[in-house]
């Protein structure tokens, strides 16, 4: 009997691993917001802070510097970014460890637009991203950076990006796992070689493509 309970739990756990993602998305839809914020299966973001605390920056004080192998190094304010052409995306946010949040709304300016604004110099190969948390870093190849669904996001979930979600401005790399979407974006440096980012130094793939991702400008894996 005890053995039966034990192996029953193990079997139930295994079934949960294999079919849990289907159950979870149904539970999440059934619960809706509110309850879903605390209960498992409620499609909630898990918040990672790799430094001591969340860097709190106001929209007013926010600056994004773009430097390195560019024609016209620049520093953009929040208002500068908002004045640029905006794109909207609605995608499932998928963490490499498994958790995910369906139908997340994003708005911001295409990274490719920012790169056009500053102008790339010959020899530029990749981008390195820094965060206001002074710990997290990320990288993209230039080809990846030019995908139409890679944006510098200024709005998320239908409002300004909150501090815990990496606001006021963060990267959103839609065709890749969540860790590529660096929070509290402070600087973009155009460099001549890929510099693996923070999570990549812990063994996460540098090219963190989602399985079956469908990016519009380039086929995954061509970068």
């Amino acid at each position: 009997m005890g053995r039966r309970v034990f192996f029953g739990m193990v079997a139930l756990g295994a079934a949960g691993v294999v079919f849990g993602s289907t159950v979870q998305s149904r539970v999440g839809r059934a619960l809706g917001p509110g309850l879903a914020d605390v209960l498992p299966g409620g499609n909630l973001f898990q918040i990672y802070s790799v430094s001591d605390t969340f860097p709190a920056i106001s929209q007013h004080a926010y600056r994004l510097s773009v430097s390195g192998l560019v024609e016209r190094p620049a520093t953009f304010t929040f208002a500068d970014l908002e004045a640029m052409p905006q794109v909207r995306l609605v995608r499932t946010f998928q963490c490499v460890t498994g958790w995910r949040v369906p139908d997340v709304h994003w708005e911001g300016v295409r990274l490719s637009h920012l790169l056009e604004t500053v102008g790339l110099r010959p020899g530029s190969v990749a981008l390195a991203f820094d965060s206001y948390d002074r710990v997290d870093t990320e990288s993209l190849t230039l080809e990846q950076a030019h995908l139409s669904d890679v944006i510098v996001a200024t709005r998320m979930l239908g409002g300004p990006i909150t501090t815990e979600h990496g606001g006021p401005v963060r990267l959103y790399v839609a065709p890749m796992f969540g860790y590529k979407s660096l929070k509290w974006l402070s600087a973009i440096r155009v460099v001549d070689a890929v510099e693996p980012g923070y999570w990549e130094q812990y063994g996460y793939p540098v090219n963190g493509w989602l399985e079956g991702s469908t990016s519009t400008t380039l086929a995954p894996g061509s970068a």
């Binding site: 034990f6 193990v10 691993v17 498992p40 498994g98 995910r100």
Partner: protein, 218 residues
């Protein structure tokens, strides 16, 4: 007069497992709740502690079961596995049924088996979440889901376990000092008390103890 309910090995296993569980809960809180993560931060350090505490969790139980020091441990695990019809009935009626209890009441048995099963499931799903590269994304999502649901369940069960322990001081003392009074045993675990006393009498009389006799009460 006193009877040994838990020997040194069993008490060490219980408190080591409890200590590791406390570490898992404390490190799990920031990994799960944004409000706690905001205060604690240092995600990688916390996650690393959580993972290694999780790997250590089954070690005390497994080590206690395999060696010559584990006779009592093994005997009690066999007790967890054996259920009489009366015990199932008692559990079904939430204790409102006559039952001559053995060393553990059916609730205690279920608690022990549940915690054992939970450790196995936490370990397996945790491995999928940490070494995710080997598993499809839908499995990682499923593993995360199971890990979270089970975390809620086990915290509820352990809170109940602690509350019951605090209101049953004799039982709690047996997990601290190891012994219970014969009086307590006769009241709360009569079948076990009879078994123990018979074994003692047989030993005292010098008569050869038949193999297996007196080793199990249920």
């Amino acid at each position: 007069m006193r009877l040994v309910r838990f020997d040194r090995v069993q008490r060490a296993v219980h408190w080591a497992s409890a200590g590791i569980f406390a570490v898992l809960v404390l490190t799990g809180l920031p990994l799960y709740f944004p409000a706690v993560e905001r205060i604690v931060g240092r995600h990688v350090l916390i996650a690393t502690i959580h993972v290694w505490a999780g790997i250590a969790w089954p070690v005390p139980v497994v080590v206690s079961l395999v060696g010559p020091w584990g006779a009592r441990m093994r005997r009690d695990v066999r007790r967890f596995n054996r259920w009489t019809r009366g015990e199932l009935e008692w559990l079904w009626r939430l204790g409102a049924a006559d039952l001559e209890k053995g060393k553990f009441n059916p609730g205690q048995k279920l608690n022990a088996v549940f915690v054992g099963g939970a450790i196995a499931v936490f370990l397996a799903t945790g491995v999928v979440m940490e070494w995710f590269g080997a598993f499809p994304v839908s499995w990682r999502t499923g593993a995360t889901f199971v890990h979270e649901v089970l975390a809620y369940l086990i915290v509820a069960v352990v809170i109940g376990h602690v509350l019951v322990a605090l209101t049953h001081r004799d039982a709690l003392r047996s997990m601290v000092r190891g012994w219970v009074t014969v009086n307590w045993a006769q009241r709360h675990a009569p079948r076990w008390a009879r078994e123990e006393l018979r074994a003692e009498r047989t030993e005292a009389s010098g008569a050869p103890v038949p193999r297996g006799a007196g080793s199990i009460d249920d």
